[in-house]
């Protein structure tokens, strides 16, 4: 359940947090520049992006077909596919498997879906230790926090904060150097990799044609997670399937350039089930957990369905003026920024996340950078409309808002009435609001005044000025 009052408090706290503002400002600006430079190098970006969008829209319109194909191929390779309608079912599968094998520890690479289904805390409750191995995720886990960005989970933290955390928790020599932090993480996590019997990962793409699971990363922790432990469990949202291997060339290109501005990440792992009998190392068992958890509900609406095209590049977060100011944690949800604003209320319900659709200035930058061309502002508007309609049916009584809007509609329909209204409003405002400074105490305006002043009204209206020019 998402708490509205808490979100408002979060926003105020984020704006007042100077350290957070500095961290956001320095990292997001860099990310936006790197993405822009990298995209500008590609002359047919628009074509690639349209191709990626169309493949996604096609796949979403025949999702059952492609999921069944994916399952068939994976099974043929010796893997096993688990269907989980809810996050709870997905978690339960992992818990049961671990218990059955008497396993008390697993290593995990970055997966937003695992955050969505609260895997770590649920495993903790079942006395199973889950070690995050992506450096950013590991930092966040050590701090007892949650990720604040799709790609850079510890984006909200400064180097110094992270160094302090490592000194406190891991006994690192307090030099504060990034290399020291990184090599400490390498040493500590390598031990976990070598001793954990289960590796859990997410999935960037699942290719139906070949039953290939694709993981995109830079650190190598996903490779370790799928190579060292005896069991590999991949968690995949049902929307991550794509039809053909050839589509990967396009998806990888638009994803990586949008996400980090790189041409290619250090590692792309294309996995076809568990190790073959004649291969010497690698997991003996491979499980793909297909998770719905609210997705098929989104699929049912022809327009809103495109929300599921998202390939989690994070470009919309980096560019968003709202996200840039408040950071990820203020959203109080797994998915944050523009994509979070449309995904969260749809995955749960508008009632559970009433603020999200409104947490945007509708500037449109997110849609411009989206590599699969999701119409985020339009979806936001549709969700706002739905939220408003739900509110209306709930509250049929006479509200101040309805009264004001009714009056406003009346005035806007008649030019004569508008002239009279605006003249008197101006006079009244100058007398009450401006001169006496009472405006800030009028109920709807107090919120406005909290962060800014109302600009001074012009002495004469446009109509009056126009008339004086004519004369």
């Amino acid at each position: 359940m998402i708490n509205t009052a808490k979100i408002n408090r979060n926003v105020e706290a984020a704006l007042a947090d100077r350290q957070l503002q500095r961290n956001l400002c320095s990292t997001l600006g860099k990310s936006v520049r790197m993405r822009d430079d990298s995209v500008a190098e590609v002359p047919n970006w628009e074509e690639l992006s349209r191709y990626a969008r169309d493949v996604k829209l096609h796949t979403l319109s025949r999702l059952d077909h492609y999921l069944a194909m994916l399952e068939e191929k994976i099974t043929a390779q010796g893997g096993k596919v688990i269907w989980a309608e809810t996050g709870q079912e997905a978690v339960q599968f992992i818990v049961d498997l671990a218990r059955q094998r008497k396993i008390g520890k697993l290593v995990k690479s970055k997966s937003m879906l695992s955050e969505e289904i609260h895997l770590n805390s649920m495993l903790g409750r079942a006395q199973i230790e889950s070690i995050e191995t992506d450096l950013g995720e590991y930092i966040v886990q050590l701090a007892g926090e949650t990720p604040s960005h799709l790609l850079a989970p510890a984006l909200h933290k400064s180097q110094k904060e992270i160094a302090d955390l490592f000194v406190r928790n891991l006994g690192m020599t307090p030099s504060g150097d990034v290399h020291e932090i990184t090599s400490t993480a390498r040493r500590v996590l390598r031990e976990h990799f070598l001793s954990a019997p289960i590796g859990v990962t997410g999935v960037n793409f699942g290719v139906a044609e070949t039953g290939t699971i694709v993981l995109v990363e830079n650190e190598g922790n996903a490779r370790l997670s799928v190579s060292v432990p005896q069991i590999h469990i991949a968690l995949m949202g049902i929307e991550k399937v794509i039809p053909r291997t050839r589509d990967l060339a396009v998806f990888l290109k638009v994803l990586i350039r949008s996400a980090t501005g790189q041409k290619m990440t250090s590692y792309i792992s294309c996995l076809n089930g568990p190790r073959r009998p004649e291969e010497l190392t690698g997991p003996d068992e491979f499980y793909l957990v297909l998770v719905d958890n609210g997705r098929s509900k989104i699929l049912a609406d022809r327009f809103l369905r495109q929300t599921l095209s998202c390939i989690r590049c994070g470009a919309c977060q980096n560019i968003c003026p709202v996200y840039q100011r408040i950071g990820g944690h203020a959203y109080e949800s797994t998915y944050q920024g523009p994509i979070g604003a449309i995904l969260t209320p749809q995955l749960t319900s508008l009632a559970a996340a009433p603020e999200h659709a409104f947490a945007s200035s509708l500037c449109g930058a997110c849609q411009e950078v989206c590599p699969v061309q999701i119409e985020i502002p339009h979806i936001l508007l549709k969700l706002r409309e739905q939220a408003q309609r739900e509110k209306k049916t709930k509250a049929s009584q006479l509200s101040l808002e309805r009264l004001v809007m009714g009056g406003w509609a009346l005035v806007m329909c008649s030019p004569r009435l508008y002239v009279v209204f605006s003249r008197w409003t101006r006079r009244l405002w100058r007398w009450v609001g401006d001169i006496r400074g009472l405006g800030r105490f009028l109920t709807p305006l107090t919120h406005w005044y909290k962060h800014r002043e109302i600009p001074e009204l012009a002495a004469r209206s446009f109509r009056e000025l126009y008339r004086s020019r004519e004369e």
Binding site: S26, T27, S31, L48, Y51, D54, V55, H58, T59, S61, R62, L63, W83, A84, E85, D134, L135, G136, I139, A152, P153, A154, T182, A185, R186, L189, L194, T212, E219, G220, R223, L224, S227, I238, L248, A249, V250, K253, T260, Q262, K263, M264, T265, S266, Y267, C270, L271, N272, R275, R276, E278, E279, L280, T281, G282, D292, S296, L299, A300, R302
Partner: protein
Amino acid sequence: MGSRSAMLDRIRRACAGNGTTELPSQMPDFPHYADPVAQFRKEFEAVGGVFLDGRGSGELLEGLKTVVRASDSIEVYWESQALLRRYDIPFNRAPSHHKAGNLLLYSCHPEQKIDFPLLLESRSHGKAELARSSLSISPARCGIAETGTIVHEVTPGTGRLFSLLPPTRLVLLSERDLIMNSAEFFPDLLVDSQGSVVTLITGPSRTADIEKTLVVGVHGPKKMFVILTS
């Protein structure tokens, strides 16, 4: 599992009745290069890889010497005997060399000096052995010029850890296996692949999770070398 049919049914219902977008058939253009070697080298070096041109006579063996020195290794792990034969790297088997079983092939080079023919020894192929190793050498399935990427395939007789645990990696790439871009690679290779993993590797392991500062060598190999052969 009861979930399976219920889930698929629900998804089918959600998809039904809404028009289908055509699956695009025309692949967008991917770049081609007049000099793919130069392009590969430029991109590979840009991500921190070390490129050695081993196309001239004797240059491959010189390259191997350079890598062994630079990696500070006293042992070198070779992915297979086929690798040595394919690239004409002279070797002899040590008398202690086992013939059967799952073996890790290696040669010893105290003081980082490498002489040919190599003396090839073996030990059992396992997690603990690879965790202690410092340099491993494999062939590339192919190289992608556009991005300076090496494509590595796990093949029978090797495994996933061989190319992953050692802190230094050397990959041997034949010039004829260099392709222009990933669009040439994906349609066929994954379909043809017999192994359980194909990995695209572009430089050493890296992270930018701390204030977007680039740090090399977080989980995977810290150094990566490619020798291009003819």
